[in-house]
Symmetry: C2
Subunit: 323 residues, 2 copies
């Protein structure tokens, strides 16, 4: 039961060798006599010795760090969690670890931490861009980063095509004969939402289908049950497109309780959605996470080559569950 912290020096002294030798043993350097190695190993284990990670990092500037920082607005919807799982799985295979930073307010302290600890790379979940300051910091430290679900010129990202998803949603509701549709979104409008709703509008207009639509945006994270119920009182309303499945759940419940005929469609196809028989636009969180992991590893591997860019866009899919 060692009392406190031992260092490589303590080990060396007890083993009657120099610190260099202990270091070699610890790093599996083959140039150590078998008996010496044994002796050192015995002592390190008896003392529960664990090398000081900070000292190790400080000295081995070249050692490729195996840590990836992840910026994620944790409170957002479950879709992010599913991405997180896939991301972690894939990274794990290559022996990368993930450090998670909650970034509801601002990125800066997280970005600083990541740079300060010389992580291998960084992934940003969600639709917010980095500040110019953060970007130039990362650039000057050659720290590669990748966005998931955000995009722009010259930046690295993987994402699903939300515009296309909006078009699919329009197809679905038009296919069910809707003429009077409401789009329910979040008040703090995200890029995704804009793209989805724009895709919806463009699709409706492009085919000259006689459909009237309007948009209602509610505070992020608020319940949709009451609102949906009230809307369903309007006999003219015949369709609702929710920005996300989580928002649509309240709608499904309202529809059931009101015995309403309104057509509903959500977005994401997260795990519980199929059990609610909710039609939706599927984007695979697993795929997104996996591709993000592979993307960042590619960027890390090519840190020194200029101009390597990862930009991948996937197509979502309509899932018709007759809702």
């Amino acid at each position: 039961m060692g009392r406190s912290k031992f260092t490589i020096k303590d080990i060396a002294k007890r083993a009657g060798v120099g610190v260099g030798t202990v270091s070699r043993v610890l790093n599996n350097n083959p140039n150590v006599k078998g008996t010496t190695r044994e002796r050192v190993l015995k002592i390190t284990s008896e003392l529960h010795y664990v090398p000081n990670g900070a000292a190790r990092m400080l000295v081995s500037r070249n050692r490729s760090l195996s840590m990836v920082g992840l910026l994620v607005p944790l409170l957002e919807n479950q879709f992010f969690y599913e991405i997180l799982k896939a991301l972690h799985d894939r990274l794990k295979k290559e022996n990368f670890n993930l450090m998670i930073f909650n970034t509801e307010e601002e990125y800066e302290s997280a970005v600083n931490h990541i740079v300060e600890h010389q992580m291998a790379g960084m992934i940003v979940l969600g639709d917010r861009p980095l500040s110019e300051k953060d970007r130039s910091l990362l650039r000057s430290h050659r720290l590669p980063y990748l966005h998931v679900d955000y995009y722009g010129e010259g930046i690295n990202f993987v994402r699903y095509d939300n515009y296309q998803g909006g078009r699919l949603a329009a197809d679905y509701l038009m296919g069910r004969g809707c003429r009077n549709v409401i789009l329910i979104g979040e008040a703090e409008t995200s890029l995704q939402q804009k793209d989805r709703f724009r895709g919806f509008a463009d699709r409706v207009n492009s085919v000259h289908y006689p459909l009237v639509y309007s948009e209602i945006n509610i505070p992020n994270g608020s319940e949709t049950y009451g609102l949906s119920k009230r809307l369903m009182n309007d006999p003219d309303l015949d369709g609702i497109f929710y920005f996300s499945d989580e928002m649509a759940y309240g709608g499904i419940q309202a529809k059931r309780d009101m015995d309403s005929q309104v057509s509903l469609i959500g977005y994401d196809d997260i795990f519980p959605t199929k059990f609610l028989n909710l039609s939706t636009i599927n984007q695979s969180s697993r795929r997104l996470g996996t591709e993000a992991a592979e993307g960042i590893m590619e960027l890390i591997g090519n840190r020194d080559h200029e101009g390597v860019t990862v930009q991948r866009v996937f197509m979502p899919e309509l899932i018709d569950r007759g809702s």
Copy 2:
């Protein structure tokens, strides 16, 4: 656009001061003349200078690290995600960061990493105990840790009472007049599952209620829809207790599709459950996460006092949605 890494020495040289002064500026030490401070700050920002975290940690052995390591079997159910959110929220308020380790296979490398990097504390989600080796490693480094959902003598934990939850489930099904019940669980039996099912059995037996029950365990993560459907073909079966809400979702769907009268109850009351009108046993993920955060911070604060123990047990609650 700095090309590469600058050190405190570079800053000092350009500012025409010693490294000590630069360090003081960086650490907001008040004993620096205003103009000197300005000059240094200007240069650090021009050069995108960020101090080397490893060097910093190495030298300031006393600085209380603000990192908590979290061991979590990521692939498990959504309940963990909700805990994760709450945990993160609470920790954030006290300026702790969270580093997440996936531990589906073994804990050892994660524990090593946490010790090596001198984190402030560690939280273990899930029902697996640490190995004796890991425990003595943590002990000898005075690194406090806390289990969520696992428990035992002399260890720190916060958890819900699963045994009690099982009793509530029994009450629910007995209240609906069930006589013939099946418990569906996971083949890789967890402590939680054992407690829940044992609570169920004890409750039924303690009141001499004429109820026959049997247990079916299926591979973790597999679908329950097909199984539930088959079971519902048996006209004698009138109740199913699922180990988790996620497992129960397939059952709810089967019940609807078969138009069955079987009574169903899940466990957890995760977010989507209410929309499925599934009765369940509520345990608040938010509370568990928050308490875990507070528990580990308490342990961290009392690192040097022997015998401080955190052991908190919360009572779950029956949510009757008539399923």
